[in-house]
Structures are given as structure tokens and as C-alpha cells.
């Protein structure tokens, strides 16, 4: 499993709080809830508007996209701007790495440009983790998707959307439909749902797109979509990862739609108030019917908006945790100094006694 690439707790600081945001693996419910609550505080409850705030003024954030992305990159940029950070987005597919620069040299150069935070999207699993391991202590790393490993901010915005519509996640039955095997989004979603103790997590798709050991992931596998959608509260559709499918794992897109595409008839099998989600980009007529994607139960576009607030929340929390850690250390140091003075005094007293 590529999950092992991430050593436990490299993303947590000495106080057990997030220092980097690389994966949901190993995090506790309180880490996730803090992100969701903070995101909520950024959204005006009356208008659903996300306001510009001065929290990260003077901080420099670099978005490093080694792999193409539109939605994730744009929402990260918007989130950074709404927090008043100075931002730089680098399209690295067309830059120095092409000229043979190693990832580590790229990192050191960018760090020398005074970055406080890196947002990284990379085709290799573990790339964000690699960065986190090598950055200077004051620099934070956020994973914007690495290989088939993780896409934690996507999973968190999905949790936000679910909580917004359905309340507490532990009461819910959630079905994830599509290419579970190749999707970093699904991997992160399953981790998030497990941490927040969703009542049931179902994955639906053909055998060729299912993980080999679903029980280890704590999910129930359905190869029949009609059975799998029965009575669920949330349906998450996942795009067919064409670019990651090395061999023909499905007969054809048409065939896939026939077997696993979400239609209005199939949607009717879920709870009447079930919501339909999709991390995008959607393939109409492949995994989802237009009538469903644009229908009243679809929250696909809300997910995009909430993605801004959730990414803002994670960035603010990383910077905030660093501030709190520094404060904590300063307090400890002054405590030590006081204790140091005390023991010096003791020694003086003792010496006087000896005299």
C-alpha cells in the first residue's frame, strides 16, 4: 500500500497539532472537526459568501503543480487570496524539472525565495511527504493530491458538504461509486469517513476497479449498483481515472454507464433526501447522467465553493498551530529560566551554609 510511504505523524508537531497536511491517515476526529468548524466560521451564514480576511497577511504561499489541475489549483489560489497571503503559482511541468533539476534542488530553490507554505500536486505518491521531510522547520506543506495516495483537502471539503446537508456524519450511510482502486480522492474520503465514524461506507463498482482488500479499509463492496444504493444518505460518484488506467479494466465507457452510471431511477433507490456528490471533473453520460448532475439532489457545485473555505481553514490552522507552538516554547523557556534562577539561588544558599 502506498499509504506506508507516509511515516506516522510527520504532519503533527510536538503538541500533536497539524504542522503539515499530507494525508488523513493517523489523524483523530478532533483534527478533522477543527478543520470543519474553522471552515464554517469563514462562511457568512446568511449569504454563503466567503469573506476576505487578513489572517495570512505577509505570508508567502507557493502552489507547485507538477500535474495539471484546474479546480483544485484555482480554489487553492482563491483560498490563499481570501486569507490575504502573497501567492505564486508555478507550473512545473514546463519549468526547471524538465531541464533535469532534482525535486530536492527545486525545493531548496523555492524555499530560498522565502516561501512559508508549499501546496503540492504531484503524479508520484509520497511527493508531498518528501517535501515535508526536507523543508525548513518554519515551512508548511499541503498535499493537493499525490499519485494514487491522498487528496486530503478534497476529502475534507466532501465531509464539510455532507455535514452541511446531513449533520453528524456518524449516523450516515455513504456510497462511493466508480473507480475506487485508482482514486486518491476515494482513499482519502474513506479515511475521513472512518475517522468520523460514518455508520456504513459502501464502495460500488466492477471487480477490476475495487481494492483487493476492502475489509482492511473498513468498507463494504457491492458489484451491483442497485443493491449498493439501497437506503444510503450520501452518494459520491467518482470519475473514471482514464489517465491512470494502464490497461482496459472496463469494456467501454458506454458499458460502464449501463452498469454503474447514476441515473434518476437508480438515485430513487437511495433515501429520498440523499445528496449526490462528485469531486469533478464530471464525465456526463459515463458515470453520471446529466439529469442527476443538474438535479435537485446534486450538491456538486456547492462542493466547489466549500472547497475554498476548507482550504482556507487548513492553511489558517497550520499557521496558527505554528504560532501556538512558538508561544508554548517561549513559555517553557521562561519557565526554565525561572527554575534555573531558583536552583542558582539554592546553590548560593548552600554555599553560605557551608561557610
Amino acid at each position: 500500500m502506498s499509504g506506508r510511504l507516509v511515516a506516522r505523524n510527520i504532519q503533527l508537531n510536538e503538541l500533536g497539532k497539524l504542522e503539515h497536511f499530507l494525508t488523513l491517515e493517523g489523524l483523530k476526529a478532533h483534527h478533522l472537526t477543527e478543520i470543519l468548524d474553522t471552515a464554517e466560521s469563514f462562511i457568512n451564514p446568511q449569504t454563503n459568501e466567503i469573506r476576505k480576511l487578513p489572517l495570512l497577511r505577509g505570508k508567502s504561499i507557493m502552489n507547485l503543480f507538477f500535474e495539471p489541475s484546474t479546480r483544485t489549483r484555482t480554489t487553492f489560489e482563491i483560498a490563499e487570496k481570501r486569507l490575504s497571503a502573497d501567492i505564486e503559482s508555478l507550473d512545473i511541468q514546463t519549468s526547471a524539472t524538465k531541464k533535469g533539476e532534482s525535486l530536492l534542488d527545486t525545493l531548496w530553490n523555492l524555499q530560498a525565495m522565502q516561501a512559508d507554505m508549499f501546496v503540492i500536486r504531484h503524479a508520484e505518491s509520497g511527493a508531498a511527504h518528501f517535501f515535508a521531510k526536507h523543508v525548513a522547520p518554519h515551512v508548511h506543506v499541503m498535499n493537493a493530491g499525490d499519485g494514487q495516495h491522498a487528496h486530503p483537502t478534497q476529502a475534507m471539503l466532501d465531509m464539510y458538504t455532507i455535514r452541511k446537508h446531513k449533520g453528524d456524519i456518524f449516523d450516515l450511510k455513504v456510497a462511493i461509486v466508480g473507480d475506487v482502486l485508482h482514486s486518491r480522492v476515494v482513499r482519502s474520503q474513506i479515511q475521513a469517513l472512518s475517522i468520523l465514524e460514518a455508520r456504513e461506507i459502501r464502495v460500488i463498482g466492477p471487480k477490476t476497479l475495487m481494492p483487493s482488500d476492502p475489509a482492511a479499509m473498513g468498507v463494504h463492496v457491492y458489484h451491483n449498483i442497485e443493491e449498493g444504493l439501497e437506503g444510503v444518505d450520501v452518494i459520491i460518484m467518482v470519475r473514471l481515472q482514464n489517465e491512470r488506467m494502464k490497461s482496459a479494466l472496463i469494456p467501454s465507457e458506454k458499458e460502464f454507464f449501463k452498469l454503474y452510471g447514476l441515473t434518476e431511477e437508480r438515485l430513487a433507490l437511495a433515501k429520498p433526501d440523499a445528496i449526490v456528490m462528485h469531486p469533478g471533473p464530471i464525465n456526463r453520460g459515463v458515470e453520471i447522467d446529466s439529469a442527476v448532475a443538474d438535479g435537485s439532489q446534486s450538491v456538486i457545485l456547492e462542493q466547489v465553493t466549500y472547497g475554498i473555505a476548507v482550504r482556507m481553514a487548513v492553511m489558517a490552522i497550520l499557521i496558527s498551530n505554528a504560532a501556538q507552538l512558538a508561544q508554548h516554547k517561549a513559555e517553557q523557556e521562561s519557565q526554565l529560566q525561572i527554575e534555573g534562577l531558583d536552583s542558582e539561588q539554592d546553590e548560593t544558599e548552600k554555599m553560605e551554609d557551608e561557610k
Binding site: E34, D37, T38, E40, S41, F42, I43, N44, P45, Q46, R51, K52, L53, P54, L55, G58, A316, I317, I319, S320, N321, A322, A323, Q324, A326, Q327
Partner: protein, 169 residues
């Protein structure tokens, strides 16, 4: 140490009388309370003055000048200003005016919502002599010494307790 309970209702009444005499009061003002204590005080004043528009509440956590030192306040909730700020006469209410930093943050936040016609600052208590920024309340219920400790609890009953040293009591 002695504890002195303050008659909050009397202070609120005095404040309301003073607000009624302001220029802003004749121009259908809108009121904003600063979470948490300021919101409690503002709710009382708002009820007593029978202002038409809903009370606005701001949480200044995101506007504090010490974010880079102390980080996020975990209990922060969204600000709620249910009307346009532009060209409105705003009565800004806090429980205690102390260093002036909260007022600075609140004004910044208000101006991020829009450009008010005026802002009148009301504070239930004014700890004089410890201001770090040049802000003064237009209306205040009571002035106390900087050295005195205050505890404000609420929302119901809204209570203010002042600790006084033996010598001054």
C-alpha cells in the same frame, strides 16, 4: 480583596438615555455587538431602544493583531451582519474598553463589510489609563481604574463584578 457587584440594568438605562441624545439615534442607527460580552450588552440595549433592524454581531478573532503570536481562537463563530453597512449609522457595543485593540479589530472588520456613515462607540465599562491605541468611547456606563479586575458574565443574568483592594473599599 472585596467583590463589588455593579447594577448593570442601571448602567444600561444610562447608556440608552445617552444614545437617545446622539445625532446617530435620529438617523435610524443599526447596532453591532462584539462577541461575546459586547453581544450580551448590545442585546439589552437593542431591546430597550426597540431598534427596528436586527442586531449585528461580529467576532473579531480573525482581525486580532496577535494572530501570528497566539493563533486562532478555537471558539470563533462567523460574524453576522444581516444588513448593508454602507452609509449606515452604526452603534458599536462592547462590554469593556481596555487597550483599544478590540475596537481597532472591530472597526477593520466593519470596514471590510462596507463604509458606514458613522460609528458611535459604546462601552459598558471603560478601564481608563491603560489604552494602547487612541480610541475613546462616545458613551460609557462607568469608568473604572485600570488596576481593578473585572468579571463580566452572561448572557442572563448579565453580571459585572469588580474586585477592589481592601484599601479602596
Amino acid at each position: 480583596m472585596n467583590e463589588l457587584d455593579i447594577d448593570v440594568n442601571q448602567l444600561i438605562e444610562d447608556i440608552c438615555d445617552q444614545i437617545k441624545r446622539t445625532r446617530a439615534f435620529a438617523q435610524s442607527p443599526k447596532m453591532i455587538g462584539i462577541r461575546t460580552g459586547g453581544e450580551w450588552v448590545a442585546t439589552k440595549i437593542h431591546n430597550q431602544l426597540e431598534l427596528e433592524d436586527e442586531l449585528g454581531v461580529i467576532d473579531i478573532s480573525f482581525y486580532r493583531d496577535d494572530f501570528s503570536k497566539i493563533g486562532l481562537n478555537p471558539t470563533v463563530k462567523p460574524s453576522s451582519i444581516p444588513w448593508e453597512i454602507d452609509d449606515q449609522h452604526i452603534i458599536l457595543v462592547d462590554d469593556v474598553l481596555y487597550t483599544g485593540r478590540t475596537t481597532r479589530a472591530a472597526l477593520n472588520e466593519i470596514f471590510d463589510f462596507g463604509r458606514p456613515a458613522s460609528v458611535t462607540l459604546v462601552s459598558l465599562l471603560d478601564r481608563k489609563g491603560c489604552r494602547e491605541l487612541p480610541f475613546q468611547a462616545d458613551i460609557t456606563g462607568m469608568q473604572i481604574e485600570c488596576s481593578q479586575k473585572i468579571k463580566v458574565s452572561g448572557p442572563e443574568p448579565l453580571k459585572v463584578t469588580i474586585e477592589t483592594s481592601e484599601a479602596s473599599s
